[in-house]
């Protein structure tokens, strides 16, 4: 049986990927970010999950507003890296897990979560910017050490799904993963945030106090977050910061007793960059 062994919340700011590609590891402006991700990368290296289920948002690269899915599940064996306007990042194409993804599609739809599916579409920095921090050896190796099941969430064009709906999607994803017969170790990843705004005269807005409160509530009291409305998230964390509802999808896929064992926070420019690790109690999934 497939098992969720933990979760990761992470920002997906595009400059995280740019800093990685330009090898800014020791640049004083970027070193706190690289150091901040290292313990999470080490945990992944040690646990060796087979699959990351990745809640992320597209930035009008995979999809356009002529058809913008609220939730979409990637079910193919591979996804190219999207060209976002400056050429394609020099990282391996995303490796999918079609058997698990197809099972998840079936489970979600039969569970009354009518998700749409996509195959072989290019995926943008919503996935690949944190991925090179989480699996930093993959570029040199030319291959990712595990597969991804990407789940796109619309946070660009309102109506955006409610915080509670994102949490419920996570719960349905947990049921889908746990009903998959093959022994797989799965980590769920929620991306986005933290506080930032990229439109209007309020652009550049941050709220460090709210970010800290969010990092606390997401572990201890996700119900306090699902009770909030999108306008509350926008007021506290900026309109784009409201994308942290994707962390709620990750949290919904974790057990009640999950523990946050690590976090890092860095706010250098316009977007607060955070990473947090959540570990499930209980025995390791059996190795294959």
């Amino acid at each position: 049986m497939a098992r969720i062994i933990g979760g990761i919340g992470t920002s997906h700011v595009p400059t995280i990927g740019v800093a990685f590609d330009r090898k800014k590891n020791d640049d004083p402006d970027w070193a706190p970010l690289f150091k901040g991700y290292a313990p999470v990368a080490q945990w992944l290296e040690q646990k060796k999950p087979d699959v990351l289920v990745f809640f992320y948002n597209d930035h009008a690269n995979t999809f356009f507003f002529d058809h913008y899915p609220t939730f979409a599940l990637g079910v193919s064996a591979q996804f190219p890296i999207a060209d976002e306007g400056t050429g394609v990042r020099p990282v391996p194409p995303i490796k999918g897990h079609p058997r698990l993804a197809r099972h998840m599609a079936e489970s979600l739809v039969n569970d009354e979560f009518d998700i749409s599916v996509f195959q072989e579409l290019p995926i943008d920095h919503g996935c690949n910017s944190p991925l090179t921090m989480l699996w930093p050896g993959a570029v040199a190796a030319g291959v990712w050490p595990g597969a991804l099941v990407p789940i796109e969430v619309n946070v660009l064009q309102h109506p955006v799904p409610t915080p509670l709906r994102c949490y419920k999607l996570g719960q349905a994803v947990r049921r889908a993963v746990e009903s998959y017969p093959e022994d797989l170790k799965v980590v769920v990843v929620g991306t986005g945030g933290l506080s930032h705004q990229m439109n209007g005269e309020r652009a550049g807005f941050n709220n460090e106090a709210w970010d800290m409160k969010f990092l606390d509530l997401i572990e201890r009291d996700p119900g306090a977050l699902t009770a909030m409305r999108l306008a509350d998230f926008a007021r506290l964390g900026g309109t784009e910061g409201a994308e942290v509802i994707m962390w709620l999808a990750m949290r919904g896929a974790l057990s009640e007793g999950v523990k946050k064992t690590y976090q890092n926070y860095y706010l250098p420019m316009t977007t607060a960059m955070a990473v947090a690790l959540f570990e499930e109690p209980g025995p390791e999934a059996p190795r294959r």
Binding site: D29, Q157, A231, T239
Partner: protein, 119 residues
């Protein structure tokens, strides 16, 4: 009014992208989105007026694109995430776009940041 967004109008200087905006700016957003396609990007770089003509933009839209008027384009209803592609093709970074929307120069904006070199 979307009940999830009630009260959002009290956030001064905020322009939410919703279906009403999206319908009104679909052609403009398609033009901006397509700058991520190498052939379209090459055409815009080589001959911006030909690219604007091909996209069938209105004169007001063309003026804002020519002037890289980020604040004006956002107020008009464009999506920041399609505007980013015009930023990249024009050599303007996200902090540069944000500074413009705030009515500041890039230098002024960077002074308000914790780590001005991290861009």
């Amino acid at each position: 009014m979307n009940p999830q967004l009630e009260g959002i109008e009290s956030l001064t200087g905020t322009h939410l992208f919703d279906l009403e905006c999206s319908a009104r700016t679909l052609r403009l957003n398609r033009f901006l989105h397509d700058l991520a396609i190498p052939e379209k990007r090459a055409l815009f770089k080589a001959s911006p007026e030909a690219a604007l003509e091909q996209a069938g933009l209105t004169e007001a839209e063309r003026t804002m694109v020519r002037n890289l008027d980020w604040g004006g384009l956002i107020r008009y209803g464009a999506s920041f995430f399609t505007l980013e592609k015009l930023g990249r093709v024009s050599g303007v970074s996200n902090p540069g776009m944000v500074a413009h929307m705030r009515g500041e120069t890039l230098e002024e904006f960077l002074k308000t940041r914790n780590v001005p070199g991290a861009r």
